[in-house]
């Protein structure tokens, strides 16, 4: 339980923590081969970069396989109830702006039972980092289709195939006024870490969809991008969007604003769309998110959007400060005696 973090602020940059300092004493109990292991290792590996002592970091989760995550982190943590982690994290974050608050959630947790809390946290721009482990299946309840499962998916609850049209998590986040939206892959530690770094630096809500393989109930759901690297359309700010084994393919924008995949040789590099993650309007980011509704072919990976907007927590604090500056610190006796009073005796 000891470690370099104890009692130190984050002002001096003296904290020398390692991934090991963020491992709790609890035995990790995901299925062998689960993508969650890789994400846990990447997050623990990234945590020292925050430059914060462990006690200033909090992980909050809902219910599902991913939701066990906080138990394995040697930080403060709460494993709460299904879908509600963004709401709980909001209360913590706005009342404790000194903390770094992270939400770990899954596709069922965030997009089905907790969909309302997710979109409202995003539009408010509360200072929480939301990591959505998307495996396109309900794992902990043993294999029912999820809100991101592809249409037609045969599962225990859909023996004739799912008749639901799936959500695209990145499209949802962009539509919900999110200020930071990214997508990454469980096994690509380098890319995952780079995205976490940008998410952590972002002021406000950061939404990170992580493709996570459930090798028991939905094995290979992301192979098209996880294994076939040529299908990864890597989004890099300011760069023309190219992909393929030798960058021979690219993304161009049609006249109607939608995006299409093109052969660079056919259209010329000048016709390629140049990625702008700081674009004020989310229209281009949204068009990019529509290139792959579910990851079965070329799919964009990286930061779709990263813009600045007032942070909910900070604005709330500013209102408190302004009220106090205007009226002084609240005086209870004056408050209860306000309005019309009268004396007896």
């Amino acid at each position: 339980m000891t470690g370099g973090a104890r009692g130190e602020g984050n002002g001096g940059g003296l904290i020398q923590l390692t991934a090991k300092d963020f491992k709790s004493d609890q035995e990790v109990r995901w299925c062998p081969g689960c993508g969650d292991y890789a994400i846990l290792a990447a997050v623990q590996g990234f945590m020292p970069e925050l430059g914060l002592p462990r006690e200033r970091i909090v992980f909050i989760s809902g219910i599902g396989c991913a939701a066990r995550f906080p138990y394995y982190m040697q930080t403060y943590g709460m494993h709460s109830i299904h879908g509600r982690a963004p709401a709980i994290a909001t209360g913590l974050s706005v009342s404790r702006p000194d903390l770094s608050v992270w939400v770990v959630t899954g596709d069922g947790d965030a997009l089905s039972i907790g969909g309302n809390h997710l979109i409202h946290a995003l539009r408010r721009n509360v200072n929480v980092k939301i990591l959505l482990f998307n495996n396109q299946i309900y794992g902990l309840t043993k294999g029912q289709y999820s809100p991101t499962s592809e249409a037609g998916k045969v599962t225990k609850s859909t023996p004739m195939g799912s008749i639901d049209h799936p959500f695209n998590p990145v499209s949802i986040a962009l539509g919900a006024e999110a200020t930071f939206v990214a997508r990454t892959i469980d096994t690509d530690k380098k890319h995952l870490t780079a995205v976490l770094r940008k998410a952590a630096l972002h002021r406000g809500t950061a939404f990170v969809e992580i493709y996570q393989n459930c090798n028991i109930y939905n094995d290979g759901a992301f192979d098209a991008v996880r294994e076939q690297r040529e299908n990864r359309i890597l989004l890099e700010h300011g760069m023309p969007i190219r992909f393929g084994a030798d960058g021979e393919r690219g993304v161009a924008q049609r006249a109607d604003g939608t995006c299409e995949l093109v052969e660079v040789a056919a259209v010329g590099e000048g016709a390629l769309l140049r990625h702008d993650e700081h674009a004020v309007e989310p229209a281009l980011a949204f068009a990019l998110s529509r290139l792959a509704h579910t990851p079965h072919g070329p799919t964009p990976i990286g930061v779709f959007r990263d813009v600045e907007r007032p942070v909910y927590d900070e604005v709330m604090q500013a209102q408190l400060d302004a009220a106090t500056a205007q009226r002084g610190h609240g005086d209870l006796a004056a408050l209860i005696g306000s309005g019309d009073t009268w004396q007896i005796g």
Partner: protein, 618 residues
């Protein structure tokens, strides 16, 4: 009756108490009129009690029966307990208001109506086939049919307001008339209008002129031959103000924040009749109060749980339909063993029910409406002013025992008002919390060890070095808090959580009984029915009956002497605005053959009906 104006000084008659009801269209400004009359009455030093009664619809069609809004005020030269059973004076601004309220006016009662509103169209909307002002049907009452609209518009001639604005000032004319009739001071209303309409001089002038014209009309018209005086009541010495239950709850929460040294966090979603608490607290940011209007009821209480984890005095407010949605999160707080206050401002149900009307039917919901064994302390406020004290007490219990606590109020307490003797803020209880801040010497922090007396677990806030720990909804191992599926551990933890809440009985006052001596019948109430029950008992005693009264503030756990008190009496009567919820509890817990008096009409008990019910059991 024709009104001509004379200038003779009129005689003044003494009254010991008066009940007035203002009734009109939702757009007629009856709540404002009632509020102002109440303020004038409070400043005069009368004891008083009010009952606003309005529809959930903001503006139902003008002149229609569902659009009628009412405000009843009881004031007296002695201490009173309720807004009164039936008005002695009814002010009806239109035919619909007359039709919906006349049945409550006793024979001989005073009826003041706006004659101008009794036109064919309004009469038809109210379902009258003939004009009651002309067909002799009001013969049993003292009727003053005053052309309020015409006289208001005439009085405002020359002031630059639209005809519609002039007409809308008629409620101030009525208020002026009533102020004269009952000898109320007028300065407060004038300065109130000056504040309210500071930015619209013409509207201000119109309202003040109408108010003064109404007062002068009473003074000079021959229709009103006497005015009435109600002397101040001998209340306990001190500084008073009027307070509604919702305002008192908001102030109580701010007081609890001050007394605990913890910042206040409110998570809430707008719902009638609880929204007033959110609105009130949102105005007091200089007290460090954070109000969070959430996307739904679940997020509201979820955010409160998050804030509690971070060390706030965390609160969520709602009414029945929202409380149901919060149930899972309250269960989480039971498992997390974090302090949390949930305020249920009860209203008539089931489902949406009658949102503006009171009921006491959420008691079993808050006690048992969660999955599995999930004990939560429950307190209930008995009067608008009591809401302040109960809020502080509920916070004390939540913080000391690290538990969610339910506080029950209702639509009657929420909007009703009474004079409130301001508490001495320096005499409020210290409810500060001992947080765990030092890591144990052996290095391992055990978040589920327990205080030997209270069985409360340590509270270590994020940000505290060396105490990093994880909590959650999964069953925890005693001591370590690690996830555990061990059968004996679950049995132990279930019993520990139950014992912790049951043990609070040792830390709350005993149930007090108001027994004049020799009573064989005990009336046991809880929550917002205190006033009507006490008034009913007073009637019975005045008629020579002997009856005892006890009123529960603590519904879980019950005060430790509750069983002993109940067994002291041959008969126990439990009046409730539900179909017998406390009744069921005490019969089950104490094996007492109590009987209920139950009404769910969406209105408070009348003291007369309770007096009858008590008499029948003597």
């Amino acid at each position: 009756m024709r009104y001509t104006q004379g200038a003779m000084a009129k005689p003044v008659e003494q009254r010991d108490g008066v009940i007035i009801r203002f009734a009109g269209d939702s757009g007629d400004g009856m709540q404002l009129t009632g509020d102002r009359f109440t303020s004038e009455t409070a400043l005069l030093g009368n004891d008083l009690s009010t009952l606003p009664d309005f529809p959930a619809e903001i503006r139902a069609p003008a002149g229609s029966l569902p659009g009628v809004s009412g405000f009843q005020l009881h004031f007296a030269d002695h201490d009173i307990l309720t807004p009164g059973d039936a008005p002695g004076v009814l002010v009806a601004m239109n035919p619909a208001a007359l039709r919906t309220n006349l049945a409550d006016l006793p024979k001989g009662g005073t009826l003041i109506v706006n004659r101008d509103a009794f036109n064919e169209r309004n009469l038809r909307k109210a379902g009258y086939t003939s004009n009651p002002l002309e067909d002799g049907s009001l013969g049993e009452f003292q009727v003053h049919d005053v052309p309020l609209t015409t006289m208001t518009v005439e009085a405002l001639r020359g002031i630059e307001v639209t005809p519609r604005e002039a007409e809308r000032s008629k409620n101030m004319f009525a208020l002026g008339l009533m102020s004269w009739l009952f000898g109320r001071p007028t300065e407060g209303t004038i300065s109130f209008l000056e504040r309210k309409f500071a930015r619209s001089p013409a509207i201000l002038q119109a309202n003040v002129t109408a108010f003064n014209a109404g007062y002068a009309f009473g003074e000079t018209s021959e229709g009103f031959s006497v005015s009435y005086e109600v002397k101040p009541a001998p209340l306990r010495p001190g500084t008073y103000r009027q307070i509604t239950g919702n305002t008192a709850l908001a102030y109580g929460l701010i007081a609890a924040s001050r007394q605990s040294g913890l910042p206040l966090f409110l998570g809430a979603y707008p719902i009638t009749p609880a929204s007033g608490i959110l609105e009130e607290l949102a105005r007091h940011k200089s007290f460090g109060v954070r109000t969070f209007q959430a996307e739904d009821e679940i997020a509201a209480v979820g955010a409160a749980v998050g804030a509690a984890f971070g060390g706030s005095l965390a609160v969520s407010t709602s009414a029945g339909p929202g409380i149901v949605l919060k149930a899972e999160t309250v269960g989480l707080a039971v498992a997390l063993e974090l302090p949390l206050l949930i305020l249920d401002i009860q209203r008539a149900g089931p489902s949406t029910g009658m949102p503006t009307k009171p009921e006491q039917a959420d008691l079993l919901l808050v006690l048992f409406g969660r999955n599995s064994e999930s004990p939560v302390p429950v307190l209930a406020a008995s009067t608008p002013g009591d809401c302040f004290e109960v809020a502080v007490e509920a916070a004390r219990i939540a913080l000391k025992y690290r538990t969610p606590v339910y506080l029950l109020s209702d639509a009657y307490l929420a909007n009703g008002s009474e004079p409130w003797l301001l508490p001495d803020v320096n005499a409020l209880p210290d409810i500060s919390v001992e947080l765990t801040v030092e890591p144990p010497v052996d290095g391992e922090f055990l978040p589920y060890t327990r205080d030997v007396d209270t069985l409360a677990r340590p509270w270590a806030l994020p940000g505290t070095p060396g105490l990093e720990h994880r909590i959650g909804g999964l069953e925890k191992e005693d001591g370590t808090g690690n996830v555990s599926y061990d059968p004996d551990n679950h049995d132990l933890m279930t019993r520990l959580r139950a014992r912790k809440v049951a043990g609070i009985a040792a830390d709350i006052p005993e149930l007090e009984v108001d027994d004049p001596g020799g009573a064989e019948l005990l009336v046991l109430g809880w929550g917002g029915t205190y006033g009507p029950i006490a008034a009913g008992i007073r009637r019975v005693r005045e008629a020579g009956g002997s009856v005892a009264h006890a009123h529960l503030r603590y519904l879980n756990p019950f005060p430790r002497n509750t069983g002993e008190v109940l067994r002291r009496y041959d008969r126990v009567l439990v009046p409730e605005l539900n179909l017998g919820q406390l009744l069921r509890l005490i019969r089950a817990e104490f094996l007492v053959d109590a009987v209920g008096y139950n009404r769910v009409r969406g209105v408070p008990f009348r003291s007369s009906e309770l007096a009858e019910a008590i008499e029948a059991m003597l």
